[in-house]
């Protein structure tokens, strides 16, 4: 049997806050299989983003274990973690996090270049076309709207064909229509590439897209609901007119 894609065991993260210590995550256990689409829900401060950061090796746990494809990562060096992200993990952030001095195309190009993909330019152009920005590749982030920036970020997240995609409130900074469009693209690309997707959101409608919903409260898993409750087709408008 293949090992789970992501495995968290007794994961705890504490942060100093003034004189006290704040427990952000409290002995969390979670296993995510390849190809799963998991939504992480919870109110502000429940530890959603920290969970995501720990899965990506952006942050280090106070205690507990994180395994990616069976390999523990909590003791890896900064370099080891960077290589892990390069090969296995893509990101989409609420605030887009595009490099402002790179054009849209260069932003998309970067992960593919880092990984040494055979023809990174073709890959970048393909993805830009997939998100409907084929003709905006030479624009800088500041010349794009919020929705367009997030589409570039989506294209970038898929550029290196990562087995895992982590999305942190990807529609949080966008209006409803644009947000739906982004989600549509995200789920569409995910099913095309067979990516494991972990999506953090506080919007139940967005979470309804996922096959599994993890509810966090005060750093603990309150509920873990499996079984698809919605599909992309039912949750959002059909992907009509989106170039694929």
């Amino acid at each position: 049997m293949t090992s789970p894609r992501i495995e968290l065991r007794q994961l705890t993260r504490k942060l100093p806050s003034g004189d006290r210590e704040l427990t952000i995550l409290d002995h969390v256990d979670l296993t995510i299989q390849p190809g799963e689409f998991v939504a992480v829900l919870g109110p502000s401060g429940s530890g959603k983003s920290t969970l995501l950061a720990l899965m990506a090796g952006l942050d280090r746990p106070t205690s507990g274990e994180i395994r990616i494809d069976g390999e523990p990562i909590q003791a890896m060096s900064e370099d080891g973690l960077a290589l892990l992200r390069r090969q296995k993990i893509g990101f989409v952030f609420q605030s887009f996090q595009l490099l402002s001095n790179l054009t849209a195309r260069e932003n998309v190009l970067l992960p593919a270049e880092l990984l040494g993909v055979a023809d990174p330019y073709a890959r970048a152009d393909e993805l830009l076309a997939a998100v409907g920005l084929a003709d905006r590749g030479h624009h800088y982030p500041s010349q794009l709207s919020g929705g367009e920036q997030q589409r570039v970020a989506l294209a970038r997240a898929f550029a290196a064909r990562p087995p895992i995609l982590l999305a942190d409130e990807p529609t949080g900074n966008l209006d409803g229509a644009t947000g739906r469009r982004i989600l549509e693209l995200l789920t569409d690309l995910r099913s095309r590439e067979g990516t494991t997707l972990v999506l953090v959101t506080h919007d139940p409608a967005v979470a309804a897209l996922a096959g599994r919903q993890i509810h966090l409260l005060d750093g603990r898993i309150e509920r873990d609901e499996s079984g698809a409750t919605a599909t992309a087709a039912t949750a959002v408008a059909p992907a009509a007119g989106v170039p694929a």
Binding site: L15, S49, T50, L52, A53, A56, G57, L58, D59, E78, D79, L81, A82, L83, L84, R85, R86, Q87, I89, F91, F93, Q97, L98, L99, S100, N101, L102, E106, L110, P111, E113, L114, L115, G116, R156, A160, D168
Partner: protein, 874 residues
């Protein structure tokens, strides 16, 4: 990942930063300009010397000494196939216009050059009329420097008295190939033939004459053949080091060495401004990276390793370093072109070639090196950016690796030392420089820290009467975290230190030499007075109002042996010793032996041993002499000599030593029975060697005299002496001091000029710090204005802050400069220390003023913004 990817990333990453890093480029360019200007000018001078080496020697080879060349040498020269020889003698004497209407004509000290044969073999002797020297010069004529004639009221064709003999002025000389325009001269040139010189009898009357044989060798001779001939001639010279053989291939070794020495020193001063620029570089990199933290976090998030990101930013600094260096090189070249026009005395403009590849490379290398080195500490922050920053702004920085701090610190220290060693061509000097810079920097940084802390502790709420809002705010601004005041204080302080230190040294030395000439010091020296002339000369001096007229007999002699060891052997032994302990800079080749001003003690010792010694005899020592060992004239059995202590050390003699002199052919043994110290500052007549009376009275001798003449009487006395005692050389102390001062002023000007770069770099840094914080300042201004402060009030607030920066930097720089000057004045020049408080005050005021102006200028944009613009953008 390929190199191509790295280069692409480098180009992409640089896009957003180009404008913002202008200060980086400016700071670096200022320092590089200073380095390139120094290196370029000295390389130009040396290049010029090499290029015109034959002209500067006026021959392929020359043999010189301060006694007539021995016949065996002349025979050896004659034996070289195809060689041609010209004999040259040089001395200093007084030339005068003939008497007019019973009054003696005006007179002038001249440098006499006696030429027999073809002169010069190479280079151009620029004469008017444009005819060969041989045609103009006969035993009855002279050719003189054009500036001499108006001084004596003569014109070409008139008669000129040299050594009392009339010579018709047959022409004027405008330029001589072997007389370098930057060197020290006692007076204008006059040419005579050998027969003409013989008429003056100056040689027999004891004038100090330099002898030189210029040799022209066949054209097809190779360099190695020339060296071999020079070596054969050296072997043919009598032992004892009284002569030296030079070839054009050595190209003025003494002059080159002097240039190297000045270059090393100025090179370090220039390097200091580059290092100050480096502080600015570090500061701009820090400000730049502060704006790049998000981008770095994203790159880490996308899977770039810290060690891949670090070179990205280091690469940026290298690119910027290249840009700054190229700009600096252009500025340095421009300085080289402009400087000779501004200061024609300083550098002969015709020699300057501003595009010296070595100098340009030096500027480029040091510029990029400093850019990388000083960027290292701020760049190491790249390693500490937490990738989690993409999710949480307040993510904790990654732990600081101790070895990173250690490695960057070590690299900085080693790098500074390496560059200083490279600039000064000496590991030791480099280490001393690095230590000094570290010490001063630590003092300045410590003071900046203390001031910030002190200001932070001032009671703010108590609001005493004096604390107007602008004063309180200004003071508080200095203490604000990240105000950038620290690096500005260090940079400006270093600048003040160099500029003030050098002006203090200059002022001290000049005033010591000039104003503080003792009131009873003589104003003139008379040399080569014949014993039978003394009575008349003395009467003349007194008649003309001369006071303090004194004279002593002088007997010329050579030191033949010390304690039975022949001088030649002592020289050989010391040469070996000097070769052993000469670290760097002392590696002089054989051609330069026996010349003073060579390299350090070894050179002094040889010169002390082999030069012509002047002995005097007297019963009682002058008041400015003090016996420090032994007793004067204490041995009734043997003839005694008293030595000046320093001279005794120089030649290696001590109490009880027996010095054997050759007094114009007669051997004479003298026992050292006392050692003295002499206060040379009195300018009285003093000798290294004083002999017991009763020993030298019958030896051939002249008299040396001093007199204090009324101001303005010197010229008349010189004219009278020239008319009646033409062999007497009259040296005006004030005039000679003026010439020495002029040389000193030139060097000091160069140092202050370069020190000015340090100040400019410091001001650039301050302006950079101010404008890097302009966003913060804009907000501050907006808030202050919203709260009702006028624009003038805001400006005053800022002015207080900058004034305080200027005050601290100026105060510490001034103290440092005073300490530096004290060291140089008391140790280097060995003159007493005195401090003019006014110059310190002026330096402090200038430092404050410059800082306030630069700071306010850099804040103008922030001051002009309307509050609503800033607050709306929030």
């Amino acid at each position: 990942m390929t190199l191509g990817f790295h280069l692409r990333m480098l180009a992409r990453e640089s896009r957003g930063s180009r404008g913002r890093l202008a200060f980086f480029v400016v700071c670096l360019a200022v320092g590089v300009a200073a380095v390139v200007a120094v290196a370029g000018l000295s390389a130009s001078l040396r290049d010029g010397i090499r290029r015109e080496a034959r002209q500067l020697l006026a021959a392929d080879l020359a043999v010189r000494g301060n006694q007539p060349l021995p016949p065996e040498t002349l025979t050896a020269i004659a034996a070289i196939p195809g060689a041609r020889r010209t004999d040259v003698k040089e001395t200093v004497t007084v030339a005068a216009a003939p008497a007019r209407g019973g009054q003696p004509g005006p007179s002038q000290l001249v440098e006499l050059k006696v030429v027999d044969g073809v002169y010069p073999f190479y280079g151009k002797l620029d004469l008017r009329p444009r005819r060969p020297l041989r045609e103009l010069l006969t035993p009855g004529t002279t050719v003189v420097a054009s500036e001499l004639l108006p001084r004596l009221g003569l014109k070409v064709g008139d008669s000129l008295l040299i050594g009392g003999q009339p010579f018709r002025v047959a022409g004027t000389v405008l330029a001589e190939p072997d007389r370098v325009s930057v060197s020290f001269t006692l007076g204008p040139r006059a040419f005579l033939t050998g027969a003409g010189f013989a008429r003056t009898h100056l040689e027999e009357q004891g004038s100090r004459v330099g002898y030189r044989a210029l040799v022209k060798l066949p054209d097809q001779l190779s360099g190695t053949e020339l060296d071999a001939i020079a070596e054969r001639l050296r072997d043919a010279l009598p032992a004892g080091d009284f002569f030296r053989v030079e070839t054009y291939r050595q190209a003025q070794p003494a002059l080159q060495q002097n240039i190297s020495r000045v270059e090393r020193f100025l090179g370090l001063v220039a390097l200091l401004s580059l290092f100050v620029g480096g502080i600015g570089v570090a500061q701009s990199v820090r400000a730049w990276l502060a704006g790049r933290l998000d981008a770095i976090a994203i790159l880490k998030c996308l899977g770039m390793r810290p060690r891949e990101i670090f070179p990205l930013y280091l690469g940026q600094t290298v690119l910027l370093g290249l840009a700054g260096s190229v700009l600096g090189i252009l500025a340095g070249a421009a300085i080289q072109l402009v400087l000779p026009r501004l200061f024609p005395d300083l550098i002969p403009g015709e020699l300057v070639r501003p595009w010296q590849p070595a100098a340009l490379l030096r500027g480029l290398g040091l510029g990029v090196g400093v850019a990388m080195l000083f960027s290292l500490p701020p760049l190491s922050a790249v390693l500490r950016v937490p990738p989690a920053r993409v999710l949480r702004r307040d993510a904790e920085p990654l732990p600081r690796h101790r070895w990173v701090t250690a490695v960057t610190g070590l690299a900085l220290g080693l790098g500074i030392w390496g560059m200083a060693a490279f600039q000064s061509d000496s590991a030791l000097l480099g280490a001393q420089f690095t230590g000094g810079v570290a010490l001063v920097t630590a003092a300045l940084a410590g003071a900046a820290f203390l001031v910030a802390r002190g200001v932070r502790r001032l009671p703010r709420d108590a609001s005493p009467q004096w604390a107007r809002p602008w004063l309180r705010h200004g003071l508080a601004a200095l203490a604000r975290p990240g105000a950038g005041a620290g690096s500005a204080i260090v940079a400006l302080g270093l600048g003040v230190l160099v500029v003030l230190g050098m002006s203090l040294v200059e002022r001290r030395v000049l005033s010591q030499l000039d104003k503080e000439l003792p009131a009873n010091a003589p104003s003139a020296f008379l040399i080569d007075v014949q014993p039978d002339q003394w009575q008349g000369v003395e009467a003349l001096l007194r008649q003309q109002g001369g006071r303090g007229v004194e004279s002593v007999p002088v007997v010329m002699a050579r030191l033949a042996a010390i304690d039975g060891v022949r001088t030649e052997d002592l020289v050989a032994a010391r040469e070996k010793e000097a070769g052993k302990d000469s670290g760097e800079g002392n590696g002089r080749d054989r051609g330069e032996r026996g010349e003073r001003g060579g390299g350090g003690r070894g050179g002094d010792r040889r010169w002390g041993l082999t030069r012509e010694q002047r002995l005097t005899y007297m019963r009682e020592l002058p008041k400015d002499n003090k016996i420090v060992a032994g007793a004067l004239w204490s041995d009734p059995a043997r003839p005694e000599v008293s030595l000046e202590k320093g001279f005794a050390e120089e030649i290696g003699a001590h109490l009880g030593s027996t010095l054997t002199f050759n007094v114009q052919g007669v051997p004479l043994d003298l026992e050292v029975t006392s050692l003295r110290t002499v206060d040379w500052g009195t300018f009285g007549i003093n000798f290294f060697l004083v002999v017991e009376p009763g020993v030298l009275e019958s030896a051939p001798q002249q008299r040396l005299a001093v007199a204090r003449l009324p101001r303005g009487a010197e010229q008349r006395v010189q004219d009278l002496l020239a008319a009646r005692y033409p062999n007497v050389t009259f040296l005006r102390i004030r005039e000679i001091l003026e010439k020495v001062l002029k040389v000193l002023r030139r060097i000091s000007l160069g140092i202050r000029f370069l020190g000015g770069f340090t100040v400019v770099a410091g001001i650039a840094i301050l302006a950079g710090a101010v404008s890097a914080g302009s966003a913060r300042r804009g907000r501050e201004v907006a808030l202050l204005k919203t709260l009702g402060m006028t624009r003038r009030g805001v400006a005053a607030t800022f002015a207080v802050e900058y004034a305080l920066v200027g005050l601290v930097a100026g105060a510490i720089g001034a103290v440092g400069g005073a300490v530096l000057a004290w060291g140089v004045v008391t140790r280097g020049f060995k003159i007493p220390w005195a401090l003019d408080p006014w110059i310190l005050t002026a330096a402090l005021a200038a430092s404050i003023l410059l800082t306030v102006i630069a700071g306010l200028a850099a804040s103008l944009r922030a001051l002009e913004r309307r509050p609503i613009e800033v607050l709306r953008a929030e």
